[in-house]
Subunit: 346 residues, 2 copies
């Protein structure tokens, strides 16, 4: 007898025995096993480019915690690299792009290659993972949402205000449009190839949606994200659920319902019950425990996980954090979160 895995059922708002749970950045530095592989790999990009290690670190949290979904270990800048960006990671600083895109020539130079040729290691990882993961644990692939990838491409790295990117958007909308179109084209290809290789769900990360005024979000970031979803849907058919994560997006709530995803993933600054009321019953919701709660220890984690379960209302809810798990998170807090989800009545 085969049943739909809990995670996929919840994405489709089908009944589940309990809400599924996974954590953004669940394969990460809070686990000693991850740190050991990371050290062996030398550079972060080297880790991302080596299927054997990517498979291993993707599986580590599944083995240790039994999460209800696995998420491909990769980086949102891998597609940027495929498009021609010179990506590196500076210790303690985060990503750096050596040739930021700031003018016509920069936009023209961006490529839209065949993903399986440009980053074969991603799809090899996905195929390897599918043969390792059991039927109960679906595999999620991901890309950055176009606006978020544009932020890194233009700014050349992380930034407090992303002023070059926003200035480009506001002062050179023509060029911003051309750049976004190119990002959409490759991101959709990259995501569709991941699903064809065996991933069973797709998450778009729109981390920098929070930088935008609602009118800019509705005019730029949201349509670009939707265009990726539409292209991928056209390529892969109706099956795999799409998840849209945006950070700090409470101001975008009035238009979030227009996102062409099955699941809306929200951060901890937006009340889950309120999101449910405003978005209606057409979307599943994912989130939204404050990642800092886990640093306050198992007791605070249990209490706040119960509140998230209650606000989520059981059906059409995937328990997750409101943002990636922090490196200094104690494992006991992750255990406490999981015990609460598994033992708790929503």
């Amino acid at each position: 007898m085969t049943t739909t895995p809990r995670f996929l059922a919840a994405c489709r708002r089908e009944p589940v025995d309990r809400p599924p749970v996974w954590l953004m950045r669940q394969a990460g530095r809070y686990m000693a096993e991850y740190r050991a592989v990371r050290e062996k790999a030398g550079s972060f990009m080297n880790l991302c480019r080596t299927p054997e290690w990517c498979i291993e670190v993707t599986l580590q949290p599944i083995r240790r915690f039994g999460f209800d979904a696995a998420i491909l270990f990769s980086d949102i800048l891998i597609p940027a690299e495929a498009m021609g960006a010179e990506v590196s990671f500076v210790a303690g600083e985060g990503p750096r792009i050596g040739n930021p895109v700031r003018d016509e020539a920069g936009v023209d130079a961006l490529r839209c290659p065949e993903p399986e040729e440009a980053c074969p290691f991603v799809y090899e990882t996905i195929r390897g993972l599918r043969s390792e993961l059991d039927a109960e644990t679906p595999l999620i692939t991901f890309v950055a949402a176009p606006w978020t990838l544009m932020c890194y491409l233009v700014e050349g790295g992380g930034s407090k205000h992303f002023e070059r990117t926003k200035t480009l958007l506001m002062g050179r909308p023509d060029l911003a449009k051309r750049l976004l179109d190119k990002i959409v084209a490759y991101s959709a290809r990259h995501a569709a190839a991941g699903l064809r290789a065996g991933a069973q769900a797709l998450q778009l990360f729109d981390t920098w949606a929070e930088l935008l005024a609602p009118a800019d979000y509705a005019g730029w970031a949201l349509p670009a994200a939707n265009e990726v979803f539409r292209r991928v849907r056209a390529e892969v058919g109706p099956e795999p659920p799409f998840i849209y994560f945006s950070k700090g997006s409470a101001g975008q709530l009035p238009v979030l319902g227009a996102v062409e995803a099955d699941v809306v993933s929200i951060d901890w600054r937006l009340d889950l019950a309120r999101a449910r009321r405003e978005l209606g019953e057409s979307k599943a919701l994912q989130g939204n425990l404050d990642p800092l709660a886990l640093l306050a220890g198992p007791e605070a984690t249990r209490e706040r996980t119960r509140a998230v379960l209650e606000a989520g209302g059981g059906r059409g809810h995937i328990v997750n954090l409101g943002h990636g798990i922090l490196p200094q998170t104690p494992l006991e807090s992750v255990d406490a979160l999981l015990e609460t989800v598994r033992g708790g009545t929503p």
Copy 2:
């Protein structure tokens, strides 16, 4: 014939000939005159402690741009220093507190002195400014909201996640409560003394409200801010308007109406017209131009200022940025903003 200054009238939602305008951090590094005084002062804290210079830099933007309100030049950490914090500013890094408050002993050690004795320079500045400013240009004084000051006191400086502060709040609510109570007590004294010295309005800056989940905001940050407002109101009477600014607070919108201020100042990530609908007609609104729009030049500034004027609806609206003006802002963009407000029909 005396008329109510435009700024004070708008705070009270009285009719005005046009919306008043001032900018957060209008006395700042984007002006060459400010940079000259800042250099003369040596350290930032030395500037903050010298009434002659504080008066000068407060007046510079009034002289150059004729804003409808002046805001005391000071720093939100001046009250922290009065309470016993060892405050310094590290170039390129921001504030640093040498003796962060992280345990019972730290909380116990905080003082609640007489403000005029602890920081006489603040009140000397206010008195000096009132004798320099004309009747059309009210003077605003300010304090950090208690939660925001708590963030700096506990963390010991700026931070991405303010994890020590949030962990204290979640893991040691008893101690967090005691700390917030002490901050409330001194902040209210400091603010009331500023109004008694001649300031005509008070703004609370709750910059780090955006770190909190709605339940934590409603349970901690908002009641603490309201307690300051209540104490100050009890001391100074009904006259001076109170303004509450919180950054990234779209998620807090359902409870923002409970803030005991006359004016709610919002950032650019929340639609002004939506805030108006949700908050009703009992509050004036302040904001909310994206500070980055000014970096895109005068044309983008004009276009976006027009949108803000329209969303603000004319009455009970004070034009401002959604956050402090950035040091790299061109003066022509500030001119364009002001021309639009002065010449535009809302």
